[in-house]
């Protein structure tokens, strides 16, 4: 099994049954998901209202908002050269997917084996999109470069 596939399995498990459940209840995972000609390795959908049992379910129903959310994982190797323009293309794709599916927020994980260029690291770390948290992850060294904003800062804890 490739390192990327291994990482995807672990991330999927963590999102659906691991500690990411404190952020959202991720319930459905798609693999090899194509959106507007961009191939995402994995798209995990969920909502911010957890199911729980008895009292926690009642609490979730009365106190938590029911926002639809997603975590999209993308491998940049499908682009000949992954630069700022490619990043914008992917972000536009994520935005259109969010609009179509009425998602409140999303995480975009850009995962590859090997280091990212400094230019793309700078581009991501300077991003400040309120409704999308972006992170670059080198699955070999587990180095994460997150974007700014609340979602960007939160993402690092859940995608390792």
């Amino acid at each position: 099994m490739s390192q990327i596939e291994d990482y995807l399995l672990n991330l999927e498990k963590n999102l659906m049954t691991g500690n990411a459940r404190w952020v959202a209840d991720f319930t459905e995972s798609f693999r090899a998901f194509k959106i507007n000609n961009v191939n995402f390795d994995m798209v995990v959908r969920g909502n911010t209202r957890g199911k729980g049992f008895l009292l926690s379910r009642l609490f979730a129903y009365t106190a938590l908002p029911n926002y639809q959310v997603a975590c999209l994982v993308f491998n940049p190797n499908q682009f000949k050269q992954f630069d700022g323009q490619s990043l914008n293309t992917v972000l536009d794709t994520v935005k259109s997917y969010m609009k179509k599916n009425e998602l409140k927020w999303s995480w975009l994980v850009i995962a590859q084996k090997g280091a990212f260029s400094e230019a793309i690291k700078n581009a991501v770390s300077n991003l400040a999109i309120q409704e999308i948290g972006v992170a670059l992850i080198d699955v070999g060294s587990k180095t994460i470069t997150p974007s700014q904003g609340y979602l960007g800062k939160a993402i690092s804890k859940y995608i390792k």
Partner: protein
């Protein structure tokens, strides 16, 4: 590819069926005792009979309404729920696959058809199958069948 068959005993569902029948029989027992004697007495023999009938009734309810049987080969699959519900499909009917977490660690493989408007769930955890492996197997079969279709 030979046809594969999965039909393991789903113990949690069997207990569920047993308790449903037990609750119904206990309610009937309390009501009938109250109507006949105008009060409530615990008759040990009747309570034991209740449990025995619940075990028989629970097993019957489980086998006829709840038990899941899943058969598949490279062309399609059959999913039977109890004796009354039988779902038969070809892999080529489907266009998308997902893995669904139903809560409490229970997973299913969801198959979308009719351009994503309708879906069928294969209850992988209930069938004691590895949901992730089944998902990839189903994705491969759907891809293979759509290749043959075109």
């Amino acid at each position: 590819m030979a046809q594969k068959k999965y039909s393991s005993l789903q113990i949690s569902d069997l207990f569920k069926a047993f308790f449903i029948v037990l609750m119904i029989l206990t309610a009937l027992y309390i009501a009938s005792i109250f109507i006949v004697f105008g009060g409530f007495w615990v008759i040990r023999e009747l309570l034991i009979m209740n449990i025995i009938f619940s075990a028989i009734g629970g097993w019957y309810l489980y086998k006829t309404r709840i038990h899941k049987l899943f058969l598949f080969d490279e062309k399609g699959f059959i999913l039977e729920v109890g004796k009354k519900e039988k779902i038969v499909h070809k892999w080529s009917d489907f266009d998308q696959v997902s893995l669904v977490h139903r809560g409490y660690g229970e997973f299913a493989v969801r198959l979308y058809y009719d351009q994503g408007k309708k879906f069928i769930d294969i209850p992988a955890s209930k069938l004691k199958l590895n949901s992730s492996i089944l998902r990839f197997e189903v994705m491969r079969l759907i891809k293979g069948s759509s290749g043959k279709k075109s």
